[in-house]
């Protein structure tokens, strides 16, 4: 049917493993596009700060091989967004290199577009001065120094740059993009074809996670979209989409499930309707997109804040566990006396007490309960790895040998499983930019490059 669009989303995260049987079932049922997201901030700022990808190259290669085979054999366009995880320029190029290698090995030829999300830092500085940069959630005010200190800053590409490529170059087989708003490519594919914005944004929001909205949670999902509604069907016959499973998915990883802000506006789901078409397909309608007066895009930046060394061990002595906080305080005071960098705050030392409150910290309701055994991780962060190693070693020795009131075990009572006992873990990053910046021309902020491979 010409007035329906069919989009196959093979999984919620490229590289997590693509079930071939369900993927080909989707391809064989007839689809107009394959769209897969590759990005997340959830693993932490190291992806951006250190240029690491979410999974190794070989894991991407396994998934991308299948996608390229379908793109080649069935002439189905493919979009990979937020390449590599952080979506830096280098990660876009990494994904293109991988596609080039796999295509060469298999004799495929493709026309490819790359959309980059690198940002001109001078532009962020000037928008900040103009008051057009605001916090995103409770991320606080942006300091001008944070713009310069970040190793990388990426801006989330909205739907418009994808739509521009799709409209101007309908011959393009593959789009690889830098950091993108997760549902943006899904939205772009529909916005050129007369679909209501409330419909395509809602569809994109759900299927960018693959078949996570199914029961049990799955991977490959097909969305069939028409002007006023869309249908969802997981491609694994053992999975079902139900009105409840789909409605419940709109809660996932969102601050709130009813009003979902994105570049250019807010998706209002207060009137959303979910109807069962049969026992494993759901029809969704009623979402409304409310355009905002100003078009803002989220910027993400990460800085390296130091170098970390850790030690881990266990404590079983009830006399020590009974006074653990006072004991660790003694250890800390001693270290502050030896290392001025700790006293000044240039370096930090933290203790994680497993078995008590390591997971939840001050939010732990049971943190005052005395356990019979605890695990202790000491975490030292310092401006250099050498200093972190030095402080960590000294602290670990102090935990082993510092005396305490009532001590019976005078040989030391910290059980250390690792040898050597301290482990340098390398640079530590932090999200220093997580802010919204107003832009004037949504389709034109991001550089596009075309190539044939």
């Amino acid at each position: 049917m010409n007035d329906e669009i069919r989009i196959l989303t093979p999984q919620g995260m490229l590289g997590y493993g693509l079930p071939a049987e369900h993927f080909w079932r989707g391809i064989d049922s007839g689809v107009d596009a394959m769209i897969v997201d590759s990005g997340s901030t959830d693993p932490g700022p190291y992806l951006l700060g250190l240029g690491k990808t979410i999974v190794p190259r070989d894991a991407y290669a396994r998934d991308v091989s299948l996608l390229l085979k379908a793109a080649h054999e069935c002439k189905i366009p493919l979009i990979i967004s937020s390449a590599g995880g952080a979506g830096t320029d280098a990660q876009v190029d990494f994904m293109i290199d991988l596609i080039r290698d796999l295509s060469a090995a298999n004799g495929y030829r493709f026309k490819l577009a790359a959309i980059y999300s690198s940002v001109d830092r001078a532009l962020i500085h000037s928008r900040l001065r103009e008051g057009r940069v605001t916090e995103c959630g409770p991320s606080g005010d942006l300091a001008p120094s944070a713009i310069d200190e970040a190793v990388e800053i990426v801006a989330q590409i909205g739907a418009e740059p994808f739509a521009k490529v799709l409209a101007e170059r309908p011959d393009i087989d593959i789009i690889v993009s830098g950091r993108s708003y997760d549902p943006a490519p899904h939205a772009a594919f529909c916005m050129l074809r007369g679909i209501e914005p409330g419909v395509y944004w809602h569809m994109g929001k759900i299927v960018e996670c693959g078949a996570a909205c199914a029961e049990p949670k799955g991977r490959v999902i097909k969305a069939t979209i028409r002007p006023g509604s869309f249908d969802l069907e997981p491609m694994n016959p053992a999975e079902r989409c139900t009105p409840l499973s789909v409605a419940a998915h709109t809660l996932y990883e969102k601050s709130r499930p009813d009003m979902l802000p994105g570049p250019g506006g807010v998706l209002d789901l207060n009137g959303a309707r979910y109807e069962a078409l049969d026992d494993r397909r759901v029809r969704v309608s009623g979402g409304v997109f409310l355009p905002s007066n100003k078009y803002s895009v989220k910027h993400e930046g990460a800085a390296i804040t130091g170098y970390r060394t850790i030690f881990i061990g266990g404590i079983r002595d009830p006399i020590l566990i009974g006074q653990l906080d006072a004991f660790l305080d003694t250890v800390r005071k001693r270290a502050n006396g030896i290392f001025p960098q700790l006293a000044s705050g240039e370096a930090t030392m933290m203790f994680h007490v497993y078995g008590r409150d390591a997971v939840m910290g001050e939010m732990e309701p049971l943190r005052h309960k005395v356990p019979h055994e605890v695990g202790l991780m000491g975490e030292v962060t310092a401006p250099t790895q050498e200093l972190a190693n030095d402080i960590c070693s000294s602290t670990r020795i102090a935990v082993l040998h510092t005396p305490y009131p009532g001590q019976m075990a005078t040989a030391g009572n910290f059980a250390i499983p690792l040898n050597p006992p301290e482990t340098p873990t390398g640079p530590v990053c932090r999200f220093t930019v997580y802010h919204l910046m107003e832009i004037d021309s949504p389709a034109d902020l991001f550089p596009v490059r075309y190539m044939e491979i």
């Binding site: 959830d42 419940a248 809660l251």
Partner: protein, 117 residues
């Protein structure tokens, strides 16, 4: 009238990051009667949840029931930097446990099974 823990009434109780600066908690039900009773019980209010998690009420950014999904959602400010020094839970996926033992006053026999989950 008896009291049962929330874990015996709900199907899903979970936490997760909602971006690097927020933690979000979902309680999802698969039975309308159980959802309605929890909603009516008044056990899931920002004041009570702030006390349970030892956080300020102002740090609870969202606390709402979602009828279409038969669910309760709470979103709070993250108290420590995500994925940086001092991180405890990078994905925010292990902060939900205290919700499981919230006691709900119930008039009917709505436990998921005779054996506690």
């Amino acid at each position: 009238m008896s009291e049962v823990p929330l874990r015996e009434l709900a199907q899903v109780i979970r936490s997760k990051n909602a971006g690097p600066f927020e933690l979000t908690f979902d309680v999802i039900f698969d039975r309308k009667a159980a959802y309605d009773e929890v909603k009516a019980s008044g056990a899931l209010t920002p004041e009570k949840l702030a006390r349970l998690y030892n956080i300020a009420v102002e740090d609870i950014l969202v606390s709402m029931f979602v009828d279409a999904a038969m669910a309760f959602k709470m979103t709070v400010k993250r108290r420590w930097n995500q994925g940086s020094s001092g991180e405890r839970d990078t994905f925010g996926a292990a902060q939900h446990a205290p919700l499981m033992d919230i006691m709900i006053a119930t008039q009917s026999n709505l436990r998921t099974s005779d054996q506690a989950r």
